[in-house]
């Protein structure tokens, strides 16, 4: 039914909406649960690239894995063009998986070492109820689309470079023509020079196919370059959501400011001495997060209210969403031009 | 410490129960009806039925198991169908003989295994090491009962140095007992020695490369003191584990070696019972053997925990 809708007139509203998502893991040994994601809500529009950024342990990967239905969803809703992904089970779930595909961080680990590139890219096609008639031709066109050629098809993953493997992963993820592509740290493990090639590939594919992309990274520079809008996660919650432009030029959350300050300077040595790091200390444990605002233990603007009251994610002028009690008062510094 | 011991000991109970249940059920799969065997030829149907009832065979399997278990914990494992001897008595008669043999084999395995292991670790990657490695891999490939036959044909029948068969209790006549024990112990212990040598070599090479040993060398301690005292002490925990595994293997291998040397141990008992389809004897022996293995593993586990407080 949803498929029919898409083929007809483009319905209004976002492609994906995540509403108050919670992801929990049981901690082995201790009888406690870890709330990796604790009430995260955002939307991704059709044809939009949405960036999700945060330190390791912020829960950004758990959000991706929940959308992929690879992580347990404790509460909340995930809706893809009218389909409640979080409520699908069994066969129904398997049928709908094709609509959201993922490019994983570890390009080697996500390819079966015993399968050739051809088998790997064809595998999703074979798993469908109605495999395409010309699967071979489709595989050949996919490999060319990601910048490799047909001579790579009969090779095993270990003969490919990291960047080539990630291109194969992208081709495999695109094989099912998904509506949403989730990239979880898809370029983090690659060399900087290889990263640029993969990012440009993703950008051109997105424009060509018009699909939506959820791009997850700890690298603010990469996310801001690629994404239309960016969500900033800290300890399982969203701290700020804004357009990439607004987020970098005028951050509204102290954590975003700290992340921008921690970015490597594009021109070294000019201003470095004038900008001390704005963030200190370790990320608190997600198993035992601070009361109130989770960032307060590391925030340089912290006040009494921050410990007592949890700041909701609320709209502020300028179109963004911020989870800070004092967003209107604080004057935060953005990225330098 | 005492609490840990008791806790570990309590954890053995379900293991032992499960093991006894597995054996009990296995024996139930045996074809034939012991009451028919017992009744003898030309027995009337009533007579067979009577025996069946007296053996409790008319009740459910679980009931039979619980009855058997309640007798077993009191030391009553039933009677042999063939010889009518009490099974507990038969095991009590044969087990000490087997344990004496296993003990002799263990001494052989540890002495030769440790010497060879230390020698090859000290001379790692030399000709000595290679020779020891080939000898031990050959030793591990030899069936112990065949080694026994070869030893008998050379040292007993050929050179007439040692007796070929028979058994004497250590308590009765230590000298004659040892003379009888040498060949079977070597036959049985050779594979264990090879295994101990191989594994100890690996452990020792790692220890000898450690900073701790390097410090001792810098202090000027003699190499043999370092190896035999300090390095071996470091290897104690893995060594105990290896030896523990060997006990279980020896208890099995002794079955066939006893046959070679005509030793009336528990192996001979279970083999003749198996050949005669005397199932209850087989059942009793297997349960007792499993109990011994479980207790040995328990002892290894405990010594592990005592020597390494990090494991809890």
């Amino acid at each position: 039914m949803t498929g029919l809708l898409q083929d007809g007139a483009m319905p209004a509203g976002p492609l994906l909406s995540v509403d108050a998502l919670c992801v929990q893991f049981d901690l082995p040994g201790a009888k406690a649960t870890l709330k990796a994601v604790d009430g995260v809500s955002f939307e991704i529009g059709r044809g939009e690239i949405f960036g999700l950024i945060g330190e390791s342990g912020s829960g950004k990967s758990s959000v991706a894995r929940a959308i992929m239905r690879l992580a347990p969803i404790a509460a909340g809703a995930i809706t893809l063009a009218g389909t409640r992904l979080d409520q699908l089970q069994g066969r129904e779930l398997r049928r709908h998986r094709r609509r959201v595909q993922m490019v994983f961080q570890d390009s080697s680990d996500s390819l079966d070492p015993r399968m050739t590139v051809r088998q790997a890219i064809a595998e999703p096609l074979r798993m469908q109820d109605a495999p395409p008639a010309d699967a071979g031709g489709l595989v050949a066109s996919l490999i060319q689309r990601v910048g490799l050629d047909e001579s790579h098809l009969d090779r095993k993953p270990h003969t490919l470079s990291g960047g080539q493997k990630q291109r194969v992963n992208i081709a495999r993820a695109l094989a099912l023509s998904p509506e949403l592509l989730v990239c979880d740290e898809a370029v983090s493990a690659l060399d900087v020079s290889v990263q640029a090639g993969i990012i440009n590939l993703l950008l051109s594919l997105q424009q060509e196919l018009g699909i939506s992309v959820l791009f997850i990274s700890h690298d603010l520079g990469v996310v801001a370059h690629l994404a239309d809008r960016v969500g900033v996660m800290y300890l399982g919650r969203l701290a700020e959501v804004a357009s990439a432009e607004a987020l970098t030029s005028r951050p509204r959350h102290p954590y975003t400011e700290a992340l921008l300050a921690a970015e490597p300077e594009p021109r070294p040595s000019t201003h470095r001495a004038a900008r001390p790091p704005l963030i200190a200390g370790e990320v608190p444990s997600a198993a035992n997060p601070p009361s109130g605002c989770r960032f307060r233990t590391r925030c340089r603007y912290v006040r009494e209210r921050c410990a007592a009251e949890q700041p909701p994610l609320r709209p502020v002028d300028g179109g963004g969403l911020v989870a800070c009690h004092f967003a209107e008062e604080l004057v935060l510094e953005g990225r330098r031009a | 410490m005492k609490r840990m011991l008791l806790g570990r000991l309590a954890a053995l109970v379900p293991t032992v129960l499960l093991a006894s249940f597995v054996v009990f059920m296995l024996i139930q799969l045996a074809p034939g009806d012991p009451s028919i065997t017992l009744a003898g030829e030309n027995a009337t149907a009533e007579r067979i039925e009577e025996i069946r009832r007296s053996l409790g065979l008319d009740r459910s399997l679980i009931e039979q198991y619980l009855t058997w278990l309640s007798h077993a914990v009191r030391g009553d494992l039933g009677k042999s169908i063939i010889t009518q001897e009490s099974i507990a008595a038969a095991i009590g008669r044969t087990l000490p003989i087997t344990l004496q043999l296993v003990f002799g084999a263990l001494v052989v395995a540890i002495v030769f295994g440790v010497i060879a292991g230390v020698a090859s670790a000290r001379r790692a990657d030399t000709a000595t090491d290679a020779v020891i490695a080939s000898v031990s891999s050959a030793g591990a490939a030899m069936p112990s009962f065949w080694l026994g036959l070869v030893l008998v044909s050379i040292f007993a029948l050929g050179l007439d140095w040692l007796p070929a068969t028979g058994f004497v209790s250590l308590a009765a006549d230590p000298v004659r007992a040892l003379r009888h024990l040498v060949l079977p112990s070597v036959a049985l212990g050779a594979v264990g020695a090879a295994e101990i040598a191989r594994q100890l070599r690996g452990v020792l090479i790692e220890i000898l490369a450690s900073d701790y040993i390097r410090t001792l060398r810098a202090k000027g301690l003699s190499e043999s003191r370092i190896v035999w005292i300090h390095a071996l002490r470091g290897a104690a925990v893995p060594l105990v584990t290896i030896i523990g595994l060997q006990v279980s293997r020896l208890l099995g291998a002794t079955v066939v070696v006893e046959a070679v040397f005509g030793i009336q141990g528990i192996g001979t008992l279970v083999v003749s019972a198996a050949n005669n389809r005397d199932y209850y004897v087989v059942e009793g022996v297997v349960v007792v053997m499993a109990l011994i293995v479980i207790l040995v593993n328990f002892a290894v586990d405990v010594s592990y925990r005592i020597s390494d407080p990090r494991i809890r």
């Binding site: 994983f104 094989a175 | 069936p143 009962f145 044909s153 099995g252 053997m289 499993a290």
Partner: protein, 304 residues
């Protein structure tokens, strides 16, 4: 290179596995072609007992005047067949159990592993004797017993492998594009988890040869008058004083067969698991992946 180095290289080099493989192949051919290779029936009493080595009887005759060479090649048939049957049964039982336990996890895993551990607490040969007692003696029954006895360690190994493989990225990827569980198990988990089982099974072939010999030696395996290495040792053992050499042909045959299976297992392990063998892979492109967290203890090429 020192003399020791040369000796060591010879003992440990690939030549050893090549030697082992050719030996096993030769034994297999002899066993299959037994009727052509042996000039006598293995059960026919066609000469005086203990004739000694002669042109007519290459390895002499046994206590009943049967040709030892004929009995040896037919015995190889029984021993090899026995080994493959036993290991086949062990793999056939152990792999599915390990697969189910590792893939399902939870209480299924707990129950299965409890049973497996129970079986592991019996001394192997004694459990095999008990099972043979129940099934009745004979080669097939004895090998079923040995297979059952071997299966728990295969199950444990397989379970451990499945637990590791299950967490690999390609399994998650397969889930994410909607592959059904059976496909993931058959296409991804089994092929990537099975290697150590293959290696273990190779070593087990040697152990099974030993087990056959032991059980036949005590009368529970191959039955009179058919030959196997164990049966031959059994009859030779009764006449060690008359014919002390009689124990060598079957005994050496067993030892060589076991050695060959062990050597084959060693070299398989070297070839199949690159983590433990760096020696032979120099110059080959290492299949390293960018690890997010470095391996603890660093890489140790020695046996783990």
């Amino acid at each position: 290179m020192s003399g020791g180095g040369v000796l060591r290289n010879w003992l440990l080099s690939d030549g050893r596995s090549r030697l082992a493989a050719s030996f096993l192949l030769a034994v297999a051919i002899l066993a299959i072609a037994a009727p052509l290779v042996a000039r006598y029936s293995p059960t026919a009493q066609n000469a005086m007992p203990f004739t000694g080595i002669s042109w007519d009887h290459w390895l002499g005759t046994d206590d009943l005047g049967r040709d030892v060479w004929a009995r040896l090649v037919y015995g190889a048939r029984a021993s090899l067949l026995a080994a493959f049957i036993a290991v086949g049964i062990a793999v056939g039982i152990g792999v599915p159990i390990g697969l189910v336990a590792g893939f399902r996890g939870g209480w299924v895993d707990a129950v299965l592993m409890r049973i497996v551990d129970t079986f592991l607490s019996f001394p192997g040969i004694i459990l095999a004797i008990a099972i043979t007692a129940v099934l009745g003696s004979g080669l097939m029954n004895a090998m079923v017993a040995v297979g059952i006895v071997f299966s728990p360690s295969i199950a444990r190994l397989m379970r451990g492998q499945v637990l590791v493989t299950r967490e690999r990225g390609y399994v998650e990827a397969a889930v994410s594009f909607g592959s059904p569980s059976w496909w993931i198990v058959v296409r991804h988990i089994v092929p990537n988890a099975i290697q150590p089982v293959v290696i273990q099974a190779t070593f087990m072939l040697g152990l099974a040869v030993l087990a056959e010999a032991s059980l036949s030696f005590v009368g529970l395996g191959v039955q009179y008058p058919n030959p196997s290495f164990g049966v031959m040792l059994r009859s030779a053992a009764q006449f060690t004083s008359l014919n002390p050499g009689g124990v060598y042909p079957p005994g050496l045959a067993i030892a060589l067969l076991v050695l060959a299976f062990n050597a084959l297992g060693d070299s398989l392990r070297d070839v199949l698991s690159p983590a433990t063998s760096t020696r032979r892979r120099i110059g080959r492109r290492a299949n390293r992946r960018p690890a997010p967290n470095p391996e603890p203890n660093g890489a140790s090429p020695r046996d783990n």
